[in-house]
């Protein structure tokens, strides 16, 4: 779903054309594109703006998810994407194997489409690997 979230609670500014144009420009900057994000294993759905990290949006909804570095460097906030697409500017904590398994970093993940995600350590079943349990040839570079 792609929807518009207009600025709420603002009344008309009068009939002056300049004022109307200014109000329209203001409204334009305040309009945000949002997407529906579902935390499947928590049974909740909320809207997240395209420029808002999913972690921050969940917290705004009163949902405390795992968090630590808050800049995409430490993996604590990792969650498993079931469907959808995100951008992760500055996210460095996931290697190729983890990304291919569907993991994203919620502290920097910005929704590009509607998303369905499993969150919390209960979603980490494929996140970690004992490095000595993996044959050298089977490893993938980060």
């Amino acid at each position: 779903m792609r929807c518009l979230r207009p600025c709420e609670g603002r009344g008309r500014r009068g009939r002056n054309p300049r004022a109307i144009q200014a109000a329209l420009r203001l409204a334009e900057t305040l309009v945000a594109v949002t997407h529906k994000v579902t935390l499947r294993n928590r049974g909740v759905t909320f809207h997240v703006a395209e420029d808002e990290p999913i972690y921050a949006a969940a917290l705004r909804e009163g949902i405390q998810l795992p968090i630590a570095c808050n800049y995409g460097g430490c993996i604590t906030c990792a969650a498993k994407m079931l469907s959808g697409k995100v951008r992760q500017p500055k996210g460095t904590a996931l290697n190729r194997r983890q990304s291919q398994a569907g993991y994203i970093l919620l502290c920097v993940a910005l929704p590009v489409t509607d998303c369905e995600i499993d969150v919390g350590v209960e979603s980490h079943d494929q996140l970690y690997q004992n490095p000595f349990a993996v044959a050298p040839g089977a490893r993938l570079r980060r």
Binding site: Q64, L65, P66, I67, A68, C69, N70, Y71, G73, C74, I75, T76, K90, T92, A93, L94, N95, G120, V121, E122, H124, L127, Y128, Q129, N130, P131, F132, A133, V134, A135, P136, R139, L140, R141, R142
Partner: protein, 449 residues
Amino acid sequence: MSECCGPGYASPAEAMQAEREKLLYTVALYVGTGVEAPDYLATVDVDPDSPTYSQVVARTEMPQIGDELHHSGWNACSSCNDDSSMKRQFLLLPGVRTSNINVVDVSDAKNPKLHKVVSGDDIKAKTGLSGPHTVHCLKQDIIISMLGDADGNAPGGFLHLDKDFNIVGRWENDITGMNYNYDFWYQPRHNMMVSSEWGAPNTFMPGFDLEDVAAGKYGQSIHFWDFEGKKIVKSIDMGADGMIPLEVRGLHDPASNEGFFAATLSSNVFRWWKTDDGDFEIEKVIDIDTIDVEGFPVPMPSLITDILISMDDKYLYFANWLHGDLRQYDVSDRANPKLTGQVWIGGMLGKAPEVNGVKVQGAPQMIQLSLDGKRLYVTTSLFSSWDNQFYPDMKDKGAQMYMIDCDTENGGMSINPDFVVDFGGEPNGPSRCHEMRYPGGDVTSDIWM
């Protein structure tokens, strides 16, 4: 404790005569456990005459979730013993992942209170550093090794705080030659400091990957400093023998200018010393062999994750976190350590899956020795993401603390059968316990000038 003086003890020999420890502090973590709550400082009763012996008797919660409390350090130690204006009142608890430095007031030793938080965001903005690790006091100042720049990349540097925990800036003048940062030990009498290398926060925080080792993203050098000049004067690249050098310990006798450190991944112990002509040398003195374990295609190193020296400088102790043993070596002959004791607790070799009625999660990791050298406390958690790789059940069952009785006359170690603190039973859910400190100072906190 000395009367009419500053904190700590006049000498290591005096410290050894101190009253037996009655309380012990350890950090306890919820990072990566599924409990979305802040980490905390746990106060453990270690007085065998107390009705709450071997129990957590106080929990001091940090204000922010996700710190990953790790190591800790005092605002003042025995280096200020001659300064009656100083007091060992504050324990600094850095959060590796948030870069916050939590300062706890232990005036009421049984009920520590949060005093102040030095914000990680402020530290990044004012110094360009992140990832705080080792805390040492330097007379009225405090320096903290920082493992990354503000974006979590190498090489980091050293943060300087004043005695009121205000950010002064960066401590060092020149880190040329330092690829990464980790632990450090200093000895002003010899104008020297030694620092070691782990990796950049962005490398080690997500977990341990052998591909990162192959790509040179972990350290293998040790650095010797001109302490007054705050600059590195010699770096030694140890190659494959010295991969991931972590804890650096100096002998406690301030007249000595030598010590030991362990290369964690290579699982070797090195001796370091300053020569008569002012040069610095190292030599490998202990080499723990890898073990082929069924189901693991890569030979398993012991992974020496912590090491310490007894207050009388006679014994060296270290933990092998993957193999699962704790070792005691007599280092009276510094260049030829002699194995005198060994116990098994947990570990991946399956030699001691249950100890004192508790199924062990993890293996010997952080260690702390009593001032008289007779009791070695050990915790089993290393670092949340690394725990989750090697010992994934720990996140659901918590880590443990044990005590080892140490024979200081003839050598030898045995697990005390009456002491176990199972952090799997914590009231807010299982947590991970890591580094430990005694209220009055211990063998890894205090330095004599």
